[in-house]
Amino acid sequence: MTSNNTKNAVNKRYIQNAIDVLMFPLIAIVLGLFVAVFFVMWAKNLGFFDGVATLFSAIWEGTFGKRANFIETLVATTPLIFTGLAHSVAFRTGLFNIGVEGQFIMGMLAAALIGLIPGIPSFIHVILVLLGGVIFGAVWAAIPGYLKAKVGTNEVVNTIMMNFIAMNVSNYFVKGPIHREGSASSKMILESAQLYRFLGPSERVNIGLFIGLVLIFVIYWLLWKTTIGYELRAVGLNRHAAEYGGINSKKNIVLAMVISGAIAGLGGAVHVAGTIHKVHQLVGFTNYGFDGIAVALLAKSHPIGVLFSSLLFGGLNSSARILQKYRIPKQIVYIIQGIIIIFVAADYIYKWFKEKKKKEAIKNA
């Protein structure tokens, strides 16, 4: 084989790989929208083409169409970038950190607590708030991570429990020490603790978005350019080989959870410091952590993919509002998201079977 041929073959394989990687997410999105059209037709009593036009114009309007909506799309995207990244790091290490939700909540709480401390110069205050989110989230994830590594308890079960504890801890503070009279939320954090809103104080989009964008590249760099990422990914792909190569898999499991939790906690802090400026009393979960699962799955746990899939989910969440304006039930959006998740999951299952079959073929060869 000449080197030129080799190169062509390699290029061809890249294209093939790209198609493989993109196929299912794209099919999933198209099918999700396609099915949604039927619900729109049913809900609004429209023909197919009118249904398509109504749905897509609503989603377009809700996502990018108007300045205000586009801003809200960015606002909805920001927390998903963090939670999507948090899940991606865990997935890459072979862990399922359902606790991202709870770590996000703890980050929110940290921001509210620290954000209420008076007399700190703004620049330092913001940093303290974000750092607090990182620490709260990291600690919240480290506990199940440590239990998994030391005792072998399932991180899924433990992190689910930690979610409920986080919700109640947060509510304890919101109802008690930092409660604002007459409201179902905490006091507003001080102005010195708030993230800069670059389109003016009445537009909720804030520099948290850029923190998220930078973090995407930091995580990409961490996973693929550092020994830390090398070890995390090695443990995620083949724990045995990693151990054989002198990599301490237990240490890396805890580390992955800590990084994942830190990202989630930072996301929570950014959400409070940038977007909502207070913590609501929670009667249910915020769902940012759970939506992050779908974001990471659709992104194939790739940080760059998280950028696009969080934008997609953020856009869909934001356009739920516009759909309702046109008297289309908001549930249509959840149907679209649900179908996308189902297809992406189906892809994983399909791959898993294919892999299994291939392994058997290798064994028998």
Binding site: V10, K225, T227, I228, A234, A241, E243, G246
Partner: protein
């Protein structure tokens, strides 16, 4: 001569490789026919097509002269074709009889007629001279016995044509002989047998005819008695092959590895190593022979830090490394070509670049602080690929995309290039073709000649005998004898491997 199987013009293409290229193959009634070829030559693919696991892209199959379309194993079984895979597919906590009847259970009403099953199995076993107890639990019997269960399973389902995939890979010399006898009995009863193998000695001993396949193409079909091993090897590999490992007498140096009364538990927390004593010196290859499951795997795991020792010591160059972490042990100067290259040797979804530094990724020049230097790593990966003649389109492909032989070469390259004091090689040539085996053997001997200590663990007695300077036989968690390789023979080793003792002297070097 009646043809029971005829495969005509079979072509099977996998992405990027033509596994079978217009292959013609025939099996006559009552013959043992070996399908000989290197790993990846396409012999298993061809048989998987016959057994219905794959569909051919082109070609026709005739069974007993009739054209058939085999869509799956159930079609194959209905046509009287049975297959015994290299990796057994038995339920470990079922009895022998339960495993044999699985899928075609005799029933009374809705209940399984276990009594009838046991009787049927007994009858079948006696008929062909199998010595198995239908009531034993699979996990309690030896691998050799398990293989017999697999064969019985096929026979129970009415197989007239038996395909055996690498059946001798897991057997002791005595067991191989027994298998040969069983196959002869089967043929006498009118069965026809296809044997997939790459081992020439067995071809000569067991078969009537041989079909040689190379890179997906049939080279020739010959009568066994008309050829010799060298000719077969040449046909298989496509060039002259040196079947004997060339090596000079060892220049033995100081003790590098010293193991004292080493004890360890297995994964079920039962004692597995029961006081192992061993020394490996610089400049020698010490081979460990033994039947699978006598503690070899655990011994290597303890030495490399993957398993905790419960007693005893491992000393490398005078330094106690017992129960240190794998990382510390790697740093102390032990390299390991592991038993299972997919499980331990490689991260299959990592590129070769990333795999090249597994175990040294945090060392300069591959990284500085936490920053990986991928330029250096890529260079290094290229060097490994060039030095060890690893066939790959590029260093960027996933390790999983390589053939087994090339994966193993790559691992050997990585481990040898680390320049260790002690090189451990566990089953270094399992599943490899002759070319790759030859190459790996050559490199191991080179390392020994460079003054490294080499610890070879292999279930293939031929390999141990060909490479080792001294041979330690392991049985039931202990070293039961250490023999000079040039002063012993297969018979002696076989007795020790089976737990027997040697009357005459020949044991030496007691520690």
């Amino acid at each position: 001569m009646e043809k029971v199987i005829e495969m005509r013009g079979i072509t099977k293409i996998f992405p990027g490789i033509i596994a079978n290229d217009n292959v013609n193959f025939e099996l006559r009634k009552g013959e043992i026919h070996v399908l000989l070829g290197e790993n990846g030559a396409g012999k298993t693919t061809l048989m998987n097509i016959l057994y219905g696991l794959y569909q051919p892209d082109k070609g026709e199959i005739y069974v007993n002269g009739k054209k058939v379309d085999i869509k799956g194993p159930s079609d194959a079984i209905a046509l009287g074709i049975g297959m015994v895979h290299q990796h057994f597919m038995l339920v470990h906590n079922f009895t022998v009889a339960e495993n044999i009847i699985l899928g075609s259970e005799p029933k009374v009403g809705l209940k399984i007629d276990y009594k009838k099953a046991v009787n049927d199995v007994k009858e079948l076993a006696d008929k062909y001279g199998f010595k198995v107890d239908p009531n034993s639990i699979i996990e309690d019997i030896t691998v050799g016995q398990q293989q017999k269960v697999e064969i019985l399973k096929a026979l129970y389902r009415g197989a007239e044509i038996l395909i055996l995939d690498e059946p001798t890979a897991v057997l002791t010399p005595q067991e191989i002989e027994e298998l040969g006898q069983i196959l002869k009995n089967l043929v006498k009863e009118g069965k026809s047998i296809i044997l997939i193998t790459h081992k020439l000695k067995e071809v000569m001993n067991m078969s009537d005819r041989v079909t040689i396949i190379r890179r997906g193409k049939i080279i020739d079909t010959v009568n066994t008695k008309d050829v010799d091993m060298d000719t077969l090897a040449e046909m298989m590999v496509g060039r002259k092959v040196n079947l004997v490992v060339q090596k000079d007498p060892p220049k033995v140096g100081d003790v590098v590895l010293k193991i004292e009364n080493l004890e360890a538990l297995d994964h079920r927390k039962l004692p597995k190593l029961k006081g192992v004593n061993l020394e490996v010196r610089a400049g020698e290859i010490l081979g460990i022979a033994g039947v699978d499951g006598n503690g070899q795997t655990e011994l290597v795991e303890v030495i490399t830090g993957l398993r905790k020792a419960t007693g005893g010591k491992v000393i490398l160059n005078g330094q106690d490394i017992t129960n240190k972490t794998p990382k510390e042990i790697i740093e102390a100067g032990i390299s390991n070509i592991p038993e299972d290259r997919h499980k331990h040797g490689l991260v299959l979804k990592f590129s070769l670049i990333e795999n090249a530094v597994l175990g040294q990724h945090d060392k300069e020049p591959f990284s500085k602080g936490i920053l990986m230097n991928y330029n250096k790593i890529r260079e290094y990966a290229k060097k490994l690929i060039d030095d060890f003649d690893v066939r790959t389109p590029s260093e960027e492909v996933h390790a999983g995309a390589l053939s087994g032989g090339n994966q193993q070469k790559f691992i050997a390259a990585r481990e040898i290039t680390k320049d260790p004091y002690l090189l451990i090689a566990t089953q270094p040539t399992r599943g490899l073709d002759v070319g790759a085996i030859e190459y790996i053997h050559k490199r191991l001997v080179e390392e020994r000649d460079k003054g490294k200590a080499v610890l070879l663990v292999s279930l293939e007695l031929d390999e141990v005998m060909a490479l080792s300077d001294r041979i330690a036989v392991m049985y039931d968690g202990k070293i039961v004898g250490i023999l000079d390789a040039d002063k012993t023979n297969e018979m002696e080793l076989g007795i020790l491997m089976a737990g027997g003792t040697l009357k005459k002297e020949g044991e030496h070097d007691k520690q």
